[in-house]
């Protein structure tokens, strides 16, 4: 893995408020190119809000997001997608009316440039582009081992496979930074092992930088390079899994401290 400590993303002093509620209080951390960065914390700590800030659903009141060495202005989520950031959701956000193949094909949206008139005629330009992108999608389908459900409407698939299709859609975009919001929620041990393997393989084969939120500590400690720990919107720990594991504030947040 490429660990040259080049900052892919630098998050500086983010403050996010919803009315009187402060969801994120002055948080800063960075994501190195090529690493797997985990964000952990108890429920309601502000982890998902953090991802939403990174991919543009929320606009923080204070703070800056630097991506690939440039300060990012106020952008819409679709513009951020065009910059090469893809994500999955905690609750599966697939397009229920479409097949698995079409869902993953939507992930290629940012790579398809043909205009509307070319698509009306189809033959020639638009169809060629379609089949070129189909090849990329088929590689993703091979990688995730979901060839057999290619033409199945995603609504009819079991949960674990839906999660995999959603990962496939994010991967099809060939992102530089992949955000995963609880990729293993609600899975059994084998499915978790499969998903961990996919994440590690994506990271090493495609050199995709991954930022993930996960509650399964065993998985987080095994696969991530560095971990950010959040609690009540504050950062209480940051470092390698070993450092975090021995951090007193983190232990307190997870196990609770008795008030003497």
């Amino acid at each position: 893995m490429n660990k040259e400590n080049i900052k892919m993303m630098d998050i500086k002093n983010i403050v996010l408020r919803f009315g009187g509620v402060v969801a994120i209080q002055n948080i800063s951390f960075d994501i190195f190119k090529g690493e797997i960065r985990a964000i952990i914390g108890p429920n309601g700590a502000g982890k998902s809000s953090m991802l939403n800030v990174i991919n543009g659903f929320y606009h923080p009141q204070e703070g800056e997001v630097w991506f690939r060495g440039k300060k990012r202005g106020s952008m819409k989520p679709y513009q951020i997608a065009h910059q090469g950031i893809a994500r999955t959701f905690q609750n599966i956000a697939l397009f229920k009316g479409m097949t698995a193949l079409d869902n993953i094909m939507t992930g290629r949206f940012t790579h398809m440039k043909k205009g509307i008139f070319s698509q009306m005629i189809w033959e020639g330009g638009a169809s060629r582009e379609e089949y070129e992108n189909r090849e990329v999608v088929e590689k993703v389908i091979d990688f995730l081992e979901i060839q057999h459900i290619r033409k199945t409407p995603v609504g009819a698939l079991p949960y674990g496979l839906q999660k995999r299709v959603e990962l496939g859609r994010a991967l099809a975009a060939e992102p530089e930074l992949l955000l995963l919001d609880e990729p293993m929620a609600g899975m059994n041990v084998e499915e978790k092992e499969d998903m961990s393997r996919y994440i590690l393989d994506v990271n090493s084969e495609f050199e995709t930088t991954v930022a993930l939120i996960e509650h399964d500590m065993g998985v987080v400690m095994d696969i991530s390079d560095r971990v950010v720990v959040m609690d009540y919107g504050k950062k209480i720990g940051d470092g390698t899994p070993d450092e975090v594991r021995n951090n007193q504030a983190v232990i307190d947040a997870y196990l609770g401290v008795s008030e003497h």
Partner: protein
């Protein structure tokens, strides 16, 4: 036995994503097009053209258009009648202002004008969804009809307030006006249906179609894959209105010949086309045709059956027609909420493995 995939090996992505993956379907499609092109024009008469073929073809275009908007992009519209009126009045103004302009170009330009108007009325969709959007498009319906009724410029200040289509021909064939032959009218509409259905298929199978469906199924997820909701929704409104405008232009100039706006393009038109889309199948090209056929052909068939076969009085037959069609709509929606297109697909699935149950 004919309906089999066996022995059809697909070796390229082009083959895998063709419109009719099974040979039998492809031949059936060629057959329908050839009959429509080479057989129907020679036997068509005034009755068949005016009662069956012209309304079917024109409504098919309108329902293709609404299906793009409602079925593929998920934006409910009750303004179809108003947009058809835009197409009709645009074609009237173009025909009277530019007498030398070819009718083909007039119809296409009417579609383009309607596309602009539709995009304008589609702007609220960026803020509101679902039923609320339906109400907003209802405003378009009432406003447009009021406008065409009120402002004399649109009907060239004619005393009756009606618009009447002048004679226009394509090559040597008269297309509009009272002296046009049924065959030439039919072929003119057939050409547009063929072209527009082909374009609709191409748009919905590719990138832009997927962006519409993404917006329909989950707009938040659509944004994170890079779909700009503004462009996706407004393009759906524009293309949908283009179709509906062409349907309106043909409805006025080729089919009716003379139109009074509150009668021809009332809110009822909007509902009829919406029913076609829902009964035929949301998000299906075939469904648009099936729905149009259902709503146009069934009343004609029933009338023939009840009046000519059973000898019922015309007024009683007309009332029973409403009851039967209403009942059938409910029946079909209970049997298959996804419309005739889904029934058709299920039938094809069964045929594929027939005579085995699975």
């Amino acid at each position: 036995m004919l309906y089999r995939e066996v022995g059809e090996f697909k070796t390229s992505y082009a083959q895998d994503s063709q419109t009719f993956p099974i040979k039998f379907d492809k031949y059936r499609y060629y057959f329908v097009v050839l009959v429509g092109l080479l057989f129907v024009p020679f036997v068509i008469n005034d009755y068949w053209a005016n009662a069956v073929f012209l309304p079917f073809l024109i409504y098919a275009i309108a329902s293709l258009g609404l299906n793009i908007l409602t079925g593929y992009c998920g934006q409910v519209s009750l303004g179809t009648g108003g947009f058809m009126a835009v197409g009709a009045y645009a074609s009237y103004k173009l025909m009277t202002a530019f007498p030398d302009l070819n009718i083909l170009i007039i119809v296409l330009l009417s579609g383009v004008i309607t596309a602009f108007v539709g995009t304008l009325f589609g702007l609220p969709s960026l803020r509101i969804k679902g039923f609320y959007l339906a109400v907003a498009t209802l405003a378009a319906q009432f406003f447009l009809i009021w406008l065409f009724n009120k402002v004399g410029w649109f009907y060239n200040y004619s005393a009756t307030g009606m618009i009447t289509s002048p004679d226009r021909s394509f090559g040597n064939f008269l297309i509009t006006g009272p002296n046009a032959t049924p065959a030439s009218k039919y072929l003119f509409c057939f050409f547009f249906v063929f072209l527009l259905a082909w374009i609709a298929r191409n748009l919905t199978r590719g990138k832009i179609g997927r962006s519409w469906m993404a917006i329909r199924d989950m707009d938040i997820a659509a944004e994170i894959i890079g779909v700009n909701p503004l462009i996706a929704k407004l393009s759906a409104f524009a293309i949908s209105s283009f179709y509906v405008g062409i349907a309106g232009a043909l409805f006025f100039s080729v089919y009716l010949g003379a139109v009074e706006v509150t009668e021809a393009f009332s809110i009822q038109k909007s509902f009829i086309v919406l029913f076609m889309v829902i009964i035929g199948g949301l998000g299906s090209i075939f469904g648009s045709f099936a729905g149009a056929a259902f709503m146009v052909l069934l009343p004609v068939a029933l009338k023939n059956l009840l009046v000519l076969q059973f000898g019922w009085p015309v007024d009683i037959a007309a009332h029973f027609e409403f009851i039967i069609i209403g009942g059938l709509i409910i029946f079909f929606l209970i049997v298959e909420p996804h419309g005739l297109a889904q029934l058709w697909n299920l039938l094809k699935q069964k045929l594929r493995i027939w005579p085995f149950p699975y």
